[in-house]
Symmetry: D2
Subunit: 388 residues, 4 copies
């Protein structure tokens, strides 16, 4: 295989424009690293701030030409659309309430799109965006980055291959301590503003990741849920915890728990999937380890490129076994897979089917629906709600 | 302190009679080891089987005199009651449906009682038994053995001392794989017979442990719950999973998940308690480790007899730091604490207050109530149920 | 199988007398618990202190009859020898320099002997003691207790069964922090007195355990070694670290490192054995876990009573899988195996061959030889020394 | 701080040329990722193979202009030296025996140099190369990549700040299973050819890493060593294991063990450093965790950006706490630090002192000396050898 399938197909890297993620943004830096790591994208344009002066300064800091630095996402879309060597791909990492308009506009102008999660704040927007993606036929990648870890993909592949038998029970939790203290919300903290951040802080921020991880790994949908969502830190106006009992599309049962108010906990995204033949356990803080506990035979520790590695996991790791990869590489897997899909589309060839496991607009809609159903159930004091 | 507080008070060990736990019983062997480990009890009598011949053979194998081997619990209670050197304490490890009658009869004859969990199968029985305990003033110890682990007691003591601040969030799970396969139930498997095993296999077997662990560690009660309880293995008639969202007595929120159908999982009893100042995490498969994650300051690994050990934990460990203790020692902590309480009662002195943390009939009633509330909520399709 | 093979053979438990291990002694308490746990011994006599008054008080605290409490080991041996219901077995847990005389005298009087390690302080004594054991035909059990852990025994059995292929490389370390501070030595601290404690504190205390663990697990002998032994804490007169390169009897190579001066470390006894087919890793602080890393196939976590458990390990565990056992149970495995051997000898039947894996006088001599060779090499500035 | 300090100083990224690391090379891909991750280098030229056709094909696959693809390192150095927009920096990842000539030639032509380890195969070469680096004043970065991990740097900073007190004991091991099988050596496998790979396969490949990690973390030198080096896999002509006892420059003692023949082990690079105030433990397979065990106070788990993070570690991590980074990020830390040093040199400003912790030619010489001393001691049957 080529060392760079994008260059192999197009003779050059994809031209990338980013909207959002300016100085001080963690996720902005991650998006750019993810794009750079495998050298499949060249950053050519950016709108890094809604303040034009700061946007310019930041763009120059990233080494962009001054005429490719824009003061708004809209200006960027227009400018790059007209530019003879304009961007191929637009990556959006702005506050959640702007995803819909920016992504829609980008798609309509022919860009392929990479968008941070959650896809949108409302169901209506999500349905429309999915329709636009389908209508345009362009690539839409939603950065549910935890699906990029090699051992998450190994788990998905093992389950898909039947190594767990019938899935019966799933537990997923995402527990953080970042909002354990009841500090006053800073002005401009858009995550704490439901109009911008969406209906539920904890569900948008991390609940959507937990839900997507469950779907990705098991291939099942949440069919029904009974939930409680609320704020446990005194005085808080946004949600900081959510729990639910789940019924999955094949009749399996599940448990869901997310919070950002667990003081001292760093980033415990953890899942256990049990089938008729065994269980899998994975935890984001130690992402290279996948515990496989067969019903018969000793428990196994699966690692990237170790024995039993399936193709989807093998292509998702850059290293020899025993060496760790982390969050940036997982994030980069989404970017690099999307790059393969985009390059194939533009070269009018069939992409490698294994490149198509990045989250897309259908996943984005499922996530928005899940958040809506969680809210509906919680409002109904935990009544079971069906997702269609 | 004396090397043996019972001998120090009474001049001899307590005389123990056991009902149940004959050949092939795991829990019977554990009860006897727990009694022997610290040399506070002398086994003097037993009713090890309802089959008189097997009861005799087993009693002789344990080194008992033939006239102290009984063919039934009732015979044992009568015989030891009349015996001039009769048992002081009766330990009951029979099928759940017999706990009530045997414990009541034992108390009424003046024995102190150690009883396996769950205390009873019905609320009515539990309330009556608690009343009997209170009326007699004798010691009643319920072997929720996980509360005997040194680091569980350390966690309780740290929380009681305010080291976690206000408790806000609790997750408790007990996940096993023992019933992952849908094998036909053997005749006589009393656990699979609701009339003997109680209304819910999974809740009686392990759910009651998880609930009690939560109460013991936090000092809080489950005030309300919304639950689902069921069987996920095809063809099974008894429950093999149960999940619930919890509201605790101080307003904290919780998540509860137990199952015996998680193929390949051994014995994952796990709890995380988060307060305003930090979180504690404990897991039964590695019981010597208590993770303390303060909101400020680095995460800590607390171990028995390590720095910061509080008195309740210190008295619950027999070893120098770095050496492991296990399930038998935790079990023995209940027996040995109960022995101190019993010896003090019989010597008419005040016991060491730290000896009084073994689970008792009040805890037993709380457990039976919890199971009943879980069933009630599940039957009402997950409606919130209040526990009084 | 009988619930108590000693009672099955003899109709009663073995009568045990202990010398040493009085109030405040950790190891004394461990010996007594180890004897009690499986109910194969009845403690009938003790010499718990060289101070007669303290010996008596302590004996009474343990519930002994006053006339079975002795003021010295010699008095105990004489008294119990003459007593019509005298002890069968004598357990010795006195300072190292007294092991030889007490064990020899006990054997000569017909007692079976359980003795703490190291067996003796000098090679000459060790050779004589082994000769006495052979001459008398009585049981001699040396409490290298780490060989009692189920997963250590599983490792031994797997290696013996060829599951690792040819053994090539062994690393063993025993690292503690107990002597990390240069505190003044208390008067009477016999371990710090080479005349009593032996030629090397760290080697006698823990080096002998590490060496025995290597031998037990691999079935190989240390054939040659090149060592350094010394004191790293300023002002210390006894050894607190020792390292060596090893050549084993089959040509395998090894690495050995022990210290009690690693500040903050609890009790890291750790071994890795690599053969042509895979590696095994075990660590005392998490004794229930045996890592098996086959050269082909995924890494495995082996646990007591889990899949693949071999008979030697199966008989060394009392619990169902997923429940932890610890140091007392491992210690008790030696006592209980020795009890089976003693009972069989006394009943003149063949013992279960699997009961004979407790360390014996041959192992004790090997340990004393190892310490002597370490000292010889270190004195010769690390020259390679052959052990015969 | 700027989002890109190189662009901030130079107005552009550094131009990088690479020699070696063509298709199929793990380390070549790592070097290029490390250069790309933080966008401080632009790859402009390469000599990826000694076969001109393959070199051209590979260069084009990486997106290079055909006239910047060279058929040999020498041609690249000449071509880029003359090119008006020629490379600033040359990265060398060719077989070990070529490092000296290529690095010397690169330095003499004014390039800054990044070179894979070991620096050279002979002491003489190492001394000359260090002299050339000093004479030219250019930057020389040796990719002992394990020093780039945030928690390795945290450990170094804690030790430098005195948090461990006086260093007394160090254990370092690097254990792999990659050469556990005695497969026939493939033609062209330069590592197995001492003329190309250097005097000792295992010492050059991983022993040099273990040695450098010890030096980096502790700030101490190996002053004396007693070693054994050899081949344990039957029929092997190159070394696959090496062990040593160490005396460090401050009188501390150490233990060293490396092998590539431990079947089934992945990549266990592990170090424990004990000082008078506590111990630190780190393991490459879980690089985000630094165990700190103070002599007083509970054991701590330190993580990137967690409480107590020192500046050297803080600048070495790109993520929020609880998210993993891995090998590529650690590798990139060396590249990015070197880039800061190079940019500062070229801009004639003082670099950030914290950017200067990448391994350099002095470290490279120390590594070559260490290998030579290991060989000398082993040849002298383990005699102690002093390093000057």
């Amino acid at each position: 295989m080529s060392m760079n399938p994008v260059i192999a197909l197009l003779g050059r890297r994809l031209r990338l424009a980013v909207i959002g993620g300016g100085p001080g943004s963690f996720i902005g830096a991650m998006h750019r690293m993810a794009a750079q790591l495998d050298n499949r994208y060249e950053l050519v344009a950016a709108a890094l701030s809604s303040n034009p002066e700061r946007a310019l300064a930041a763009g120059l800091e990233l080494g962009l030409a001054a005429d490719r630095v824009y003061g708004s996402g809209e200006a960027l879309l227009d400018g790059e659309h007209l530019h003879p060597q304009g961007a191929d791909v637009v990556a959006i990492m702005t506050p959640n309430d702007s995803h819909f308009a920016l992504a829609s506009a980008a798609l309509e102008r022919g860009f392929d799109v990479i968008c941070d999660k959650p896809m949108t704040n409302t169901l209506d927007e999500a349905e429309h965006l999915l329709a636009t993606v389908k209508a345009t036929g362009q690539v839409f990648c939603l950065t549910h980055n935890y699906t990029g870890y090699p051992m998450v993909r190994q788990a998905k592949a093992m389950i898909a291959a039947g190594e767990l038998g019938t899935i019966r029970l799933v537990q997923v939790e995402y527990v953080q301590g970042g909002n354990a203290e009841g500090v006053p919300v800073k002005p401009g903290a858009w995550r704490h503003d439901p109009l911008k951040g969406g209906p539920s802080l904890v569900l948008g921020d991390i609940g959507s990741h937990a839900h997507n991880l469950l779907r990705f790994m098991t291939g099942l949908e949440v069919a029904e849920l009974a939930a409680e969502v609320g704020a446990i830190v005194p005085g808080r106006m946004v949600h900081d915890y959510a729990g639910a009992l789940l019924r999955l599309s094949n009749g399996a049962r599940g448990n869901f728990w997310v919070t950002q108010a667990a003081a001292g906990v760093e980033n415990c995204l953890r899942i256990r999937v049990s089938g008729s033949l065994g269980s899998l356990e994975w935890e984001q803080e130690h992402p290279q380890v996948l515990h496989f506990k067969p019903q018969t035979g000793p428990a196994q520790i699966r690692t990237p490129n170790g024995p039993g590695t399936l193709p989807l996991a093998a292509r998702s790791s850059r290293i020899v076994k025993g060496h760790p990869e982390g969050f940036p590489e997982a994030f980069a897997n989404l970017y690099s897979d999307a790059a393969e899909a985009i390059a194939a589309r533009r070269a009018q060839v069939k992409p490698d089917p294994l490149a198509l496991f990045f989250p897309n607009a259908t996943d984005g809609l499922a996530g928005v629906r899940f958040v809506a159903a969680m809210m509906e159930s919680a409002t109904a004091n935990g009544a079971w709600v069906m997702l269609d």
